[in-house]
Amino acid sequence: MSLVGLEFAFFFPVVFLVHWLGPRRAAWQNAVLLLASVAFYATWNLKLLGVLAAATAVSFGAGVLLSVLGAGEQDPVRAAVGQRKRKAVLVASIVAELGLLGVFKYAGFFAESFNALLGALGMPDALPVLRLVLPLGISYTTLIQVGYLLEVYWGRAPACRDPLAYSVFVGFFPQLIAGPIVRARTMLTQYLVPRHLAPAGMAAGAGTFLLGFVMKAFVADWLSPRVVDPVFADPASFGAGALWIALFGYATQLFCDFAGYSLMAIGTGRMFGLELPENFRYPFLSKSLAEFWRRWHISLNTWLFDYLFAPLTTGRSWFRGRAGAGFLVVFLVSGLWHGATWTFVLWGLAHGVALAGHHAYDEWYKRRCRADRRYVAWRKATPYLLASWFVTQAFFVLTLIPFRAPSIGAAADFAKGLLGLGGVEGLGQRFGLQAAACVLFFVGFHLLEIGPGPAWKARFLALPVPVRGVFYGLVLAFLLVYVPVGASTFIYAQF
């Protein structure tokens, strides 16, 4: 089931009514949400639900053990033993969680790569290549649980003793497919108390859901089959113009697909009285790569920086104080998290290197600023800001080539085509009025965040209620006419 599919129009009202018409108790609300999440998951694959259930049971049990072992121990010897046991539980549970992800997501990739290496050395294949169905959302639920275990181990969050609340925390259906990746400190606490149906929350939820729906169902789903997919499927046939349009089209599609999904998840959460974390904050306004990654897929990047980058660069290993190397590791992991292919590794490597380079440049520039205050003024000047914005966005868009291409060879073909060394075919009728409307929406969406944009937004929200009602009605009518027919999938659901 997808949040954007017709089936959700049947599913959501039932869950909503049962949830709010029942007793106003956390246990009831969590039970309804858990049941709904199980049903949501089961519509995809009932059998693989066991994998999620087992992983959840392991992390829940480990969390309880982490809170019990060595707790309140006064004797230093016993406390040290307790700490060692805690560490063993943490390592074992994280290995179990990551092991599941590794088997389902990476076993085939590593076996294939190893065999290819042996092949290059003239040796026969040594490992069988497994082709397993990837359990829905496993990349997200694994990070949620590993994050929880680390938080409990570090004492930053209490262990959850309520299996119902914990299960919903891991598998709440709107976040199940593609995040946001939730944290114990902000989300788990919400499941432990009863939620109340508030008009403001309901209105904000519906509005957020509608905005996400427009981004996903109108923009992303329209651009994908008409502008993006045909060109990426056969880049060698298309001319440079078509390839550039397809590349920018893909950047738009990817953003609207994923940010749209996140907004729909957040909106759905709000309608159940829950506040899921923000996942995108106008990333195409960023003027540096570091800023970009603070605005794009926020829940993944903060996870990676909190649980990988920070321990790595502040711990006792070689990485201590070496931020550049930390960036490289973080983005190689991010690349692999997105998919077990060399194109994602290349993408991650490019971003790791670029961030390390940017970090070094930034340090150098700060030194210049301290020596000469004119550097501070230059950095704030419009030409510098525009150039920074352009370089950042151009880099991100260009690295989408390996991100989207099925192989490194296809990515190279696409890149050659961008320079006019490919085919000649144009997009023809594919790039019409509706594509222009998609681009306009995408640009307008970002512009509303800068200059007079926020004031316009405020002015709209201050309009009389009936006027806004009419506006929403017109948006719905527009969507019913123009949203393409057909089942659509979310790009980030495959990661």
Binding site: L6, W44, A198, A203, L461, G469, G473
Partner: protein
Amino acid sequence: MSAGGRSWGPVLLTILCALATLAAVDAALHLVAPPKPLLEIDQAMDQYAAGDPAVLALGSSHARSFIAMDKALSQRTDGARRIQAVPVEWGKYTPYAWVLKHRILPILTERNASGALVRPSLRHVLLVTEWWDSTALDPGTGSITMALPARAWQWGDFFADLGENGLTPYNQNFLQRIWREWWSVSTLVQDRGYENITKGLREAVRGKDLEAERASYDNRLKGWQSMVEEGAGHLFDPAQKQSLEEMVGTLQGLGLDVTIVLYPRMPGTLSAKAKETTLRQFSDRMQAFTRDHRLRFVDMTFTNPLTDDDFEVDFDHVKPEGNRRLAEWALDGDLAFLAGKGATGGAQ
């Protein structure tokens, strides 16, 4: 949608205004693309249960042509004989067989407390068909995603399939149907996938683009013709043939008089190759089948009173006026027996 605050009033007012706007837009768009309500299986079954007809016309969407024939037959027999059309949208023989077994037979064979049939009038069954119905579900793949026993399902069938297979494009057809049924008066909902609203609005703004229309017609015609020509290689898929035989066996077992009716094809769309291969072969093989099983056979593929103007833009379905002429013509000719001459049997 920040209508919230602490009171429900603004939220409800926003929703009401949005819904009122939606309804107003919908009503206005009725002028551009009015919804065309189509007879679906649920409604057909209700009509069957209430009407106890003498004739059942089971087929794909083509069976809807027999609604006009029902009116003509009813007039000719002073209401004594009625035809119940049961259209299985996009259907082939396996979906027809499913509908026959799960939806029609329970009504047809229902008995009262004294053991007598509740609806004893059925005498004739018309299996309305064409070559496409006999091909594999999706030629080449054997899979089926767009069709459509799902359109004949009830909630129990849907949940059973959902439990077995999860949510699939196949069982999503059921939800689509229910959704369209719920919003049967809404142009905005009924037009999804047909794009008559955008076409109508475009024409209202820019006028008719005759050149583009011609190009689109030629393009569609080319695709249609090659589809029919390629059909010869896919006729009488084993699974479809088995379903056809099962249906005929079931109906004959009930003592019903079965007629295979080959539905008319739009003359201007038929290439010489299509006539000589797919259509001819299908007709010959179906005639042989009816001989072997002692069925009536009525072939309207080429022999009918219809011209190109009687067909819809999809090249496939007949317009209302064409259906009326087809009905009168058929009841004067090969289907005259439906009026009572030569009737035999009845469900037992």
